[in-house]
């Protein structure tokens, strides 16, 4: 885990599981919270506060610690990450859409992602709301609302295929120093806020705001949908704002 080396983690697990030492359990939970926060951040949006999701993810962490089997010989983080992610996904599945969003709008929002792609391909430009409404057999007002709802629920599946066509492995991506932009001459990417972003988010923001590419062009470049680009831009900007506020409260 983050602040404990592997040997210390195993020793604490042993103390907890074999001797019932609750202090050891508490230390393991504390050490795992940065990992929970990193995972929760990927799911945080305008409608789900980061701290709420950290609480949800912490439940997953505790389950992982409690259910861990010492004899399996894997690192606790290897076992904890899917457990935490599972808890976060369950939270969204059980409470997210169902509580806040009418079912009809939820379904329309999902439909629109597909319609935007199809119509963009057919028209050679991004479709208008009227065109989307016709395609989805919905009112324009409903389309506007559903597009906004889609933005609010921009949770990024950790198992979705990123731009390079490879599965994103949380074990690889979390806590690992990303290279590339760090060595770039564009120092903007090293400024506060940008550092909190994932590599793909940095790339998309760079292409949009410094490279002058449109969402459609970025979508083509990265190999994801235009609506996904839109959502990632908004989510990345929110993360930047949050990070800057967190680190520079006086400003």
């Amino acid at each position: 885990m983050a602040s404990l080396d592997e040997a210390s983690t195993r020793e604490l697990l042993r103390e907890y599981h074999e001797r019932g030492d609750l202090d050891a359990r508490a230390r393991l939970i504390e050490a795992g919270l940065p990992l929970v926060r990193a995972l929760a951040r990927r799911y945080a949006g305008r409608t789900e506060q980061l701290e709420d999701l950290v609480q949800v993810g912490a439940i997953g962490l505790i389950k992982a610690i409690d259910r861990f089997e010492l004899e399996r010989g894997v690192a606790l983080s290897t076992y904890a990450i899917p457990t935490i992610i599972g808890e976060l996904k369950r939270h969204f599945r059980d409470k997210g859409w169902a509580v806040h969003v009418p079912r009809r709008l939820k379904e329309l929002s999902l439909q629109l992602t597909q319609h935007v792609e199809e119509l963009s391909g057919k028209l050679g430009r991004s479709p208008t709301v009227a065109e989307l409404a016709r395609a989805a057999n919905a009112d324009e007002e409903e389309v506007v609302e559903a597009l906004d709802i889609g933005q609010a629920y921009s949770t990024l599946s950790l198992s979705e295929v990123p731009g390079d066509g490879e599965e994103l492995d949380p074990l690889v991506s979390i806590g690992e120093l990303e290279t590339g932009y760090e060595t770039s001459e564009d120092r903007a990417l090293l400024l506060p806020g940008f550092r909190s972003l994932e590599e793909r988010e940095r790339r998309i923001l760079h292409l949009r705001f410094f490279g002058g590419l449109t969402q459609s062009q970025i979508a083509e470049e990265i190999g994801i949908s235009q609506m996904h680009v839109s959502r990632l831009i908004r989510r990345a900007l929110e993360k930047m704002r949050e990070e800057i506020e967190h680190h520079e409260p006086a400003q």
Binding site: V129, L132, R187, F209, R241
Partner: protein
């Protein structure tokens, strides 16, 4: 717009007169200064933009512009904030007030490499300025000229 675009901070004629042909329709929306209402502003702007048959990307740009201003607590000067959306021909103008114009202008004039308000707005709207009103209030004015969708 290109990187390094400096927003036009003057008031008045930010775009040519022929961009402004037609009757102006204005929708005014006053919201509590609370982050929970930013999405309401987004939906209203989106709804107005839909009337112009904007491509999804342009609509998204306008929503992003409004969100960028309203989401920054230190820009807002009162417990309520008003967003006006004025549609004139193919020109959409967004007015926002009351604002802490000192903080806003400082950010708009910042000549650094950060992805701040200046760079963000430069990418999503055509011009940024302030408009003085008779009551002395200075309104932030964001203008976007929207193309008529080909084949629509």
């Amino acid at each position: 717009m290109a990187l390094g675009h400096t927003p036009d901070l003057g008031s008045g004629a930010l775009l040519r007169n022929d961009d402004r042909m037609g009757e102006t329709e204005v929708i005014s929306l006053t919201l509590p200064h609370d982050q929970r209402f930013v999405s309401v502003a987004r939906i209203v702007v989106g709804g107005l933009a839909a009337r112009l048959d904007l491509p999804f990307e342009s609509l998204d740009d306008l929503q992003l512009a409004v969100e960028a201003v309203l989401s920054e607590e230190r820009y807002i000067a009162a417990d309520e904030v008003t967003v006006e959306v004025a549609v004139q021909g193919r020109l959409v103008r967004l007015f926002i007030a009351p604002l802490q114009t000192d903080a806003l202008e400082a950010d708009l004039e910042r000549d650094d490499e950060s992805l701040g308000l200046r760079v963000l707005l430069a990418a999503v709207v055509d011009s940024v300025g302030f408009e003085g009103r008779p009551d002395g209030e200075r309104w932030l004015c964001l203008e976007k000229q929207v193309p008529r969708p080909a084949g629509s």
